[in-house]
Symmetry: D2
Subunit: 366 residues, 4 copies
């Protein structure tokens, strides 16, 4: 079973609640001999860390990662290297603000998992959302670094995985402005600098109003070879769909043309193929780099929609655990657009799916 | 590993190629004591069978299912009952038309998996698409019947799983006309009778032109209790995303508000809760019945987009397996809108995911 | 879950009951490009087939195997080759003698699974033992052929897997007489020709008395490289233990020195290492070729004990399904030493475990 | 994949090396609502802790366990309770003696996994055996406590799992002296007080000689109901075989009569059944409580053989990693009979297998 695990050959299992002492992940199946330092992981974690701009939660978490196993260094190695055994990573929770939780203890916050966790388990760790909190995604980002290294190691060439927010609320980017160089230069990881500026204003207004916006994130992997994936239930795109939909607050996943594919004709949709420099060359990429569940060598393009943050200042009607009608209003720190912090998580999930398939492909097909 | 398997506790494994002697599925983990007759499965298969209207492939396949194991009847039982051991179902291929495959043997059809299967495996069973053919979905529909029975057996109450095509090409239904009573009365399984009439004309024209249309299908499960699902990677919606994306030609999956959720504000998106007849009652269903990966007791709503059939009469540019530029034109029978035949498959996948989670929930939570 | 599946990357799922229409196996994860003909499998099945000597059940089953998927041949291949997709094998049951089952329908045969299947599932397919029948092992032998081919394909060199019965009832072979050349020359697959002669007499007597004998089978894989296996729960020997214990009627499994290892001193037990022809050379093989769960390059040696056939002519005390005390006496055909037919099954299971680990090793370690 | 995981519904994943900063385990699938305190786990860990008698390693490890997730307590619960989410346990390594490892860094210790880990992974964490060290079993014992609680919770009745060493080196216990009351009163966890006295003398002598002894451990579960297990590859005894063989240094596993079953006649082996107090009552237990892979309600009896400690003072011939012939002599602390510390590990593994099957049975059969 895999309630809290993901992947087949590169398998990771996360654990931890928002307000427990720590959270972490165990990665099993990583090949031996890969250089892995805590700093490599820390750099990625710092990017998704809370409190980095006014648009993300103000919780102060240093998110310092420790490698507890699976890596070894001695005076004969040129750095710490993976040993092929499970890699255990831990991140201690520091800022579990000792606030009063009596409100969300008894009331079900609309749009949150409070009601469903109680329905399933009979009770729940309500502090900060417990296991359903987006804090779990720190573990994914950490694991994603190992996945990216694994992928490069197995393929013997780098795969460049990047992501951009392409829509905030109803506001989409202008594809004409798309430039990957922009994504590190604005708080939205947005490839359209102009859109990012516009969004900043709009999100600031929403934040002040106590409202929130959703988002669409696009993740693109460039340089993955043709042949990754498997037929039917092991399809690369089925795994990507599962991976992206498992991210908190995601309600839709698209590959290539996505939902829009339905509106195309067969002529428009099927990407034609020519030769270029002695290699197959597709004239378009409606398929998003996946045909029959197997990568085509084109860019692999996945998109996912994140719903607007459910924690808003406007009072909402709800019920208590005892079935009484009431209202609830979220106070305190929150992300006006949780989609922002989902960007590095999308990169991590793409890396994990690709690394997993790269290992499986090498296993089955040599 | 699960290249060709799906599910955890109710696990099914399909096998078979489009033009092999047969195809089938093994279902493991089905509870004992459920009445199961070949007719029950046949009825569902007859619905998705090729050749039932001019809008689906004219291949003549009776799709007769045989139960080869896992069911037992004697004079003391009131019918054949599942025994708790693996149920093996087989459907023989009959109409593997002995056509000339030399064209698709050597040329990669744009939009098909020809190129990627060769890239992965070095060679392929090209007859009718081999393993990548939608004929595999017959096995899913058969397994879906067992899943629906399992679900009702475990929950001790029926879950009503229905599906409607809600968009054909660029043409969407009118939600005001939506009536489940209509779905069995038109070749599109469409809940909007008027849209179906309109589509019939449009698809007929496209068919004559040798073109094709995509589609969006909506699958709705009514009556599932709150509490099915699991946190993080075992999320009900993550499993649904994987299930739907694993269907041939699917490029996007949505839960509830789906991709549109990105454009909503927090106020619009979070479904408020009241009490009604002593039970929790949600005032809207943007969540599509899933919160934090766990069912809320509302209707579970999944949608998926099917790309237009790639086999079209218009010649398309492509290459051969030897890397020569050429063109290809699909001759012979094909579906102008493969989305039509995906409708019962969507129902089956919803049933399989729900039954799997119902068994897991009973296992973990009693 | 894997109630009826085995293996990770080379995963097989068996189905079928003793007296159903057929039994079979689906093998998933087999590499593409391996020549596979029905005759290859048939040859192995013929060896374990019922009715080949007076010491095995007289049920007449041709055990004809059909390959239903996963293999493709055209005029450009030099034979049918695996495609990398699931291989489905089916063996039809022919001699389901229409005997009267009323006796075993109501009474629990001591030593059989009648009581426990009823306890678990509430009822059972009692005909010939249903799913608990050793007929299931035909599927394993068939799958084992594919495993042996996979192993040679992945390792690019043959691994020679052989087995010998080394004990029948209380009578052990003389290791001084051990010669693999003998195993195909007697009905016991015994490497000690003299012991086999002796056993034939003793088993004939037991058969006439309506009694039965147990057996110990030794399976040896020669030529497997060092490095197959994994730490802790993926240990090669843990998988072999599971594999062998899953064979019907097996009650003990040993690797190398086995249970006797307990009686050795540390000096006697730890196999010393020297160099020979430029390669590591172990001076003994108490470890049975596995250290820390990983193969050492020595012969991999597994042994398992099969209990005596529980179906005997002597009446035994038992109860009915309704809880009445009674006696039961097995009539009709049976194997006086089921261990005989377990010999090829042991070979198959060794092949399956090694092939699985060879694929996983290639996947993880390249 | 499950290189470092075990179990299906109650699935645990261990991580950590002998001389890394910590080791631990993540348990997924535990039912919600079970009282779980650190003390409960600590008590079990204290039993297997190093340094408790002169017969076990003198390494000083407090083995203090921390619960990092999956448990929640507030003023309304009567103690910390499991939440149904992953439980992460960590034990910090304290006494990683900064000894000189140059000897075992370069030389392969006979009987150890040094050679095979290098063969598999190219290099290894050699400090104290790294991942192949028996320190990993602390994580199993910790997880075993949760398994025992899960088992009692699911079955709504206690299952009593006990173990005794029944053989040390060539010296077996006298079954006539067997009394479970003795196991906590001697350093061998031996149910025969007289044998334990005798063993103490013999092991002391071996220890002084720098030699070591193997052992046989018997684990018995009393009170488990009939019906746990599954056919074929999910057999309860196949899982027990895998579980016990996965313990460090184990070379043989037996269920019930075990290897001796081979020497019995059919009459002797098949346990007859009578009624007693209105319930089925077996007159003997050669089957060890498992028939056809499913529990019969009798005591479940598993035995496993542990080879003698490979680390001995006597110099042994071996090679270096560079292929030079040399000798090695183990200095410093070691266990003269590692079997002693395997006793609580056997209990833990029995608990994990039974709890897993209890959850699966409830899932599939209600």
């Amino acid at each position: 079973m895999s309630f809290n695990s993901f992947g087949r050959m590169l398998r990771f299992t996360t654990w931890g609640e928002s307000h427990g002492p720590a959270l972490g992940v165990v990665i099993d199946g990583c090949p031996p001999g890969i250089i892995l330092r805590e700093e490599d992981i820390q750099t990625a974690l710092d990017k998704r860390r809370p409190g980095t701009s006014k648009f993300v939660t103000q919780r102060k978490e240093p998110d310092t990662v420790k490698i507890l196993s699976g890596v070894f260094e001695d005076d004969r190695t040129d750095g710490p290297r993976t040993t092929g055994t499970p890699i255990s990573l831990m991140i201690e929770n520091v800022d579990q603000r000792s606030k009063d939780y009596s409100d969300i203890r008894d009331k079900y916050r609309p749009g949150h998992a409070d009601f469903t966790y109680d329905a399933k388990y009979g009770f729940r760790d309500y502090r900060g959302g417990g296991r359903s909190s987006a804090r779990e995604t720190a573990a994914r980002v950490a694991a994603g670094v190992i996945a990216e290294k694994t992928l490069a190691h197995v393929l013997k060439s780098a795969v460049w995985i990047r992501a951009s927010m392409v829509q905030m609320g109803p506001y989409k980017i202008d594809r004409g402005n798309f430039d990957w160089m922009n994504v590190d230069k604005n708080p939205f990881w947005c490839a359209d600098a102009k859109a990012a500026e516009d969004w900043a204003e709009k999100l600031d207004a929403a934040r002040k109003d106590g409202s929130s916006y959703g988002a669409v994130i696009e993740v693109v992997a460039s340089g993955a070879p043709a042949g990754l994936g498997a037929p039917v239930y092991g399809k690369l795109d089925a795994d990507l769909a599962s991976a992206m939909m498992s991210i908190n607050a995601v309600k839709g996943v698209e590959i290539g043309a996505g939902m829009e594919a339905a509106a195309l004709t067969g002529e428009e949709n099927a990407d034609e193929i020519r030769m270029k420099d002695g290699a197959p060359h597709f004239l378009s990429n409606k398929a998003g780099g996946v045909l029959g569940g197997i990568s085509s060598g084109q860019d692999i393009v996945a998109r996912f929609a994140v719903k607007p943050t459910s924690s808003i200042l406007t009072p909402r009607r709800t019920i208590t655990a005892r079935g009484e009608e009431t209202t609830i209003q979220t106070k305190g720190r929150h992300d006006p657009c949780v989609g922002i912090r989902a960007v590095p998580v999308g990169i991590a999930m793409m890396a994990l799916v690709l690394a997993d398939h790269a290992l499986m492909h090498r296993g089955q097909c040599g």
